[in-house]
């Protein structure tokens, strides 16, 4: 392993570029700790990085780019990601986006996403820019060993055999201690645009109400439920709730709960994904399932969480963030035992909501 001082500027850049082009590995400074860099599009280089890191399961490895322009070639940058790039990069933040598959596959997470960093180190950015391709960006330690902040750390905690994999150490002296970069996934919960008419249900009436408070939203939920309640003994009722954050979807579900005389407090299912409330209303009994797909990567996951079994006659299912599971729901709509009611809640002002239902 050769060592070159970062201070040597242009000369250092030249040496580093030569190593990267050959598929070699460089240890380089970043604002968090020393990282290990190899050409992210070169299988040989990436394999060496993995060998250096050692056993780490299926954890993905982030890559460093010079700027957003370069990032765009390798990942799909959505609105959230764009916002994070603008405000926080270069800086200690790894932004996860959908990969375009132009880097070596093992760098990606299992769902085809790739983490991107722009280190806040002008010379490193310059190197990547001249290199023209992303380089791996993972801490320069074997998995489970100390995170390196200086050359001494690397030498002390790395086995001789692994050190042989490294061609060059770009020495930026002692780095001050920082936590590893924050990793943010931007592929979850993309705000779907709720176009009216997107839901195709033929010949169903649509009804619209204005609610002026949470209490009114709850009451309207009860009123809407009333209209469909006679179907319950023979069918399961699915209330597909759409509406932005804070529009009152959980309030609507609370209304459904009070119609069913459920005494338990109905609270947000965001974290647990599914909450269930058994009910008994005169001769009728069943379970109210309150679902939230907000934290799910794909709505289909609800199928593995038992959605189909929930659709038994007598049961009521309220689903928040149904955009993600629309197609699955439409499939069930064709089944006789399930009746779907699409509910849209739009915010008109701070307290006013327009509640539209059809189905």
């Amino acid at each position: 392993m050769k060592i070159i001082k970062l201070k040597r500027g242009k000369e250092a850049i030249k040496v580093v570029l030569a190593v990267l082009k050959k598929g070699g590995l460089v240890i380089y400074p970043t604002e968090t700790c020393y990282g290990i860099g190899g050409d992210a599009t070169n299988l040989k280089a990436v394999k060496k990085v993995l060998e250096f890191k050692g056993s780490r399961g299926d954890k993905p490895i982030s890559v460093a780019v010079s700027d957003k322009e370069m990032a765009k070639k390798y990942v799909v940058i959505n609105k959230t990601a764009d916002n994070l790039y603008r405000e926080f990069l270069p800086g200690p933040l790894t932004v996860v986006s959908k990969s375009k598959g132009k880097t070596i596959r093992v760098l990606e997470a299992s769902k085809g996403t790739l983490g991107i960093r722009i280190p806040k180190y002008p010379l490193v950015i310059k190197i990547i820019k001249e290199f023209g391709r992303p380089i791996t960006s993972t801490s320069a330690n074997t998995s489970g060993k100390k995170t390196p902040y200086c050359l001494k750390d690397v030498l002390k905690y790395t086995s001789k055999k692994k050190l042989e994999l490294i061609d060059l150490f770009l020495d930026g002296d002692n780095l001050s201690f920082h936590l590893p970069s924050t990793v943010i996934d931007t592929t979850l919960n993309e705000p779907a645009i709720l176009r009216r008419g997107e839901i195709k249900i033929s010949r169903t009436k649509s009804n619209s109400f204005i609610s002026n408070s949470e209490a009114e939203t709850k009451k309207m939920a009860q009123g809407i439920f009333q209209k469909y309640s006679k179907l319950l003994p023979k069918k399961s009722l699915v209330f597909a709730l759409q509406g932005e954050l804070g529009s009152g979807k959980t309030q609507f579900a609370k209304g459904l709960g009070s119609f069913l005389k459920i005494k338990e407090n109905i609270i947000s299912p965001t974290f647990t994904i599914i909450r269930e409330y058994p009910y008994q209303k005169s001769k009728l009994s069943g379970i109210l399932y309150h679902l939230d797909t907000w934290r799910l990567e794909r709505g289909e996951e609800l199928l593995d969480l038992g959605l189909e079994e929930m659709l038994k006659p007598g049961n009521v299912i309220a689903i928040e963030w149904m955009q993600k599971i629309k197609q699955v729901l439409e499939h069930f709509q064709n089944k006789k035992e399930t009746h779907l009611i699409w509910v849209t809640i739009e915010s008109l002002s701070e307290n006013q909501r327009r509640i539209t239902y059809r189905g």
Binding site: S55, D58, L84, L245, G246, N265, S268, T270
Partner: protein, 348 residues
Amino acid sequence: MKKHYLILSIDTSCDDTSVAVTNNDSVLSNVISSQVEFHKEYGGVIPNLAKRMHQQLIDLAIAEALKRAKTSFGKIDAIAVTIGPGLAPALEVGVAKAKELAQRFKKSLIGVNHMEGHLLSSFVRNSKGIGPFSKMKPRFPILGLLVSGGHTQLVLMMDFGKYQLLGETLDDAAGEAFDKVARMLDLGYPGGQIISELAKKGNPKYELPVPMIGSKDLNFSFSGLKTACLYKLQKLPKPWNKQFYCDFAASFEKAAIQALMIKLKRAIMIYQPKQIVLGGGVINNLPLRQASRKLARKYGLRVFIPYDKKLFTDNAAMIGVCAWHQAQRKDFFKKIDLLDRKPNLNFN
């Protein structure tokens, strides 16, 4: 009761598959699926879906927990498992596995309330027997504030096994509000952490309503604060600069912590506890811990938090320690076949 009582505990209440081995109230191993690198060949990809379903991970996690604790099924005295609250299909995986192990190896079986686990997380000691309560005995009643992504609760503890739920959230949990406000700021997921990070550099200059400030009970509500943030943000012209994000995060964090402190204070005044314990993932937030300590000091009270951050979030070690306390009061599940998950389990 044996001098050294070894429990293998399982928690599959939500996202993580966790398995621990505990000796009385000391942790010998505490394996959490998202934090551990299982030794397997590269390319053996576990789809995200299965991660939530726990099926693929549970046997690996059990083997790893036994290995790290340098023990085997032969030496284990009891199997403990979280029965609720949580995600029903996830809980089922842990419950089924615990029943299978208890029957196969003829072990006692203990069903544990996940929230009781969080409440007792400050009583957990490390393998050397050192923990927050190693120099001081618990003095009851103890007031517990539990704050996580799925729960926000105030619980009074009269003794181990004797609890009274004083208040809880009526809509969103505090941790969820952090994540949702991050979403409004387009900060990705999980954003709660980044909000706390940004708040460090921010000035809480935006006025936000402190939820439930006027309510007389001990319940919480965070959905109103979430909505208030939404409308405040709509009024603030874009583009937002970096300082704006920091300032807004600080403003939100301040209101959220204040909401928790108002109710904590009220609970202290009404129930006059002798000690306070904190639990749940949101106590990772330093200003929340500082505010709790400051408030407690005014009443001459000490605040206890778990000795390791790993015990803040969902983990099986706290379940094992809770189960050990249950074992001491002979709270075993005799008819193993009948043990079932209780997704809505609560105190009382």
